[in-house]
Symmetry: C2
Subunit: 270 residues, 2 copies
């Protein structure tokens, strides 16, 4: 158990499972943490989700996800803020203080304005999140998602956004899949000292089988996962380590098998 005390199953790794199944699967495999996704929480219901997680003795490492701020119209942007407020409430209810932020995509061709909409959205959300004791964890995504998921595509951008606030209000989430290519990776991790709210692992496999569902199990690809983990820990981060793998092939195998393999690879490759 000691070996796995920081291990968390991000629910997307076993996308084929409902939240109830994922909770049961973690309990069976003695994985102590879970990171649920909002659409799965909604399926099961918030209070049932909370109760089942608690009854299974699990802790919630983060809630995925808030963000998605940029939109063409002010009213649509306000709707996004309102939805983010609900996400904050859900995070608090589920007992985690980290809401992972996937900041949102281009509403048109103007990427600079979209980045400003992200900054504005965060500014609006912070006081609300603070009142719930929830921190916003900005997760920069890989630049290949700049058009359709997040215009925040580097640790530098995420750090700059976060530094406008206290570290106990806004921080960053480091996912090796999104940042391993960055020539400035280790400087930016160091820069985030005191502000890292989550660490996500998977691998980059060659060839990438799919733009969205093409991540690999740790050890199957080219990312220096241990080296990045060491850099993250050097900043003082000693919280949960989420395994988050979007991969259609992995989703087609039994969830228990995935969780078992994830535990093995966590020991050998994280």
């Amino acid at each position: 158990m000691e070996d796995f005390k920081r291990l968390s199953l991000n629910q997307m790794t076993t996308e084929q499972w409902s939240l109830r199944e994922a909770i049961e699967g973690c309990a069976r495999a003695e994985v102590p943490w879970i990171a649920p996704w909002r659409h799965k929480v909604e399926e099961l219901g918030l209070s049932t989700s909370k109760r089942l997680i608690k009854d299974a003795g699990l802790k919630v490492s983060s809630l995925c996800r808030g963000g998605m701020f940029p939109a063409v119209t002010a009213s649509e942007r306000q709707k996004r803020i309102d939805d983010n407020k609900r996400a904050v409430e859900e995070a608090a209810e589920l007992g985690t203080d980290v809401l992972v932020m996937v900041c949102g995509s281009l509403p048109d061709r103007d990427i600079q304005s979209a980045r400003q909409m992200v900054a504005d959205g965060i500014a609006q959300l912070v006081p609300f999140a603070k009142s719930y004791g929830v921190k916003l964890g900005i997760e920069p995504l890989h630049p290949m998602y700049a058009a359709d998921r997040s215009v925040v595509v580097t640790l530098d951008l995420a750090n700059t956004l976060a530094e406008a606030y206290q570290p106990n209000q806004v921080g960053i989430v480091v996912d090796v899949f999104h940042v391993w290519w960055d020539p400035d990776l280790y400087n930016q991790i160091h820069r985030a000292t005191g502000r890292i709210l989550g660490f996500h692992v998977c691998d980059w496999i060659i060839p990438v089988p799919d733009m969205l569902k093409g991540r690999g199990m740790m050890g199957d690809g080219v990312i220096e996962i241990s080296r990045i983990r060491q850099a993250v820990e050097k900043t003082g981060y000693n919280g949960p380590i989420e395994v988050e793998i979007f991969n259609e092939q992995i989703w087609n195998q039994p969830g228990d098998e995935t969780v078992c393999q994830m535990k093995e690879r966590y020991l050998t490759h994280v």
Copy 2:
């Protein structure tokens, strides 16, 4: 003709054509420049390629491509250097002074060492290229190609590599597909003043249909192409503008149709 005097067909846009067909296609459409690829030149033969290009009244904007420096063993790295020397000779023979460099992928998990191998390879190649009057144009690729095509994934890295040399020896090539997401894009273009050796256009379409063959025709995606062109021209670059589109669907349509559409979109979206 005046409108198209800087337009170049990068041969990958009509991948279905042989070099002979591409030359004839450019001549028919009065596209004044062409950027051949080495494997297509090899099919036709170097001297025939040179003659047909000359006879058609075309100019060669660049030769694609040199690079691919990192490899596990020293002997393999030397083979790559030797191949790059042949690429330099071919560029000179075809009458272009720009060899586009796709710097090469990870031989193992150590991306920092791979980047050093790129720097070492360029250092070895520069004196040879200089003796032929050929400039090395470092083209940073999108970070999604870091594992299997180029560890040089930002304009910052490309500028840093190039700045170790005189601008008439090593410069950079700006391809909008590879760099549009970069928060530091306009600073880095400005930094490359006097060193830009090529400008490539296409578009980023949503969703990207394929990691490699998923680029779009200008105007079909989200890239601010005109804005980037203006920034590039502000540095003084007034050379050819290559249209380089890797797209299976476009390759399946008649080449003449692609060239016709490329000319229209060049006027309206570049």
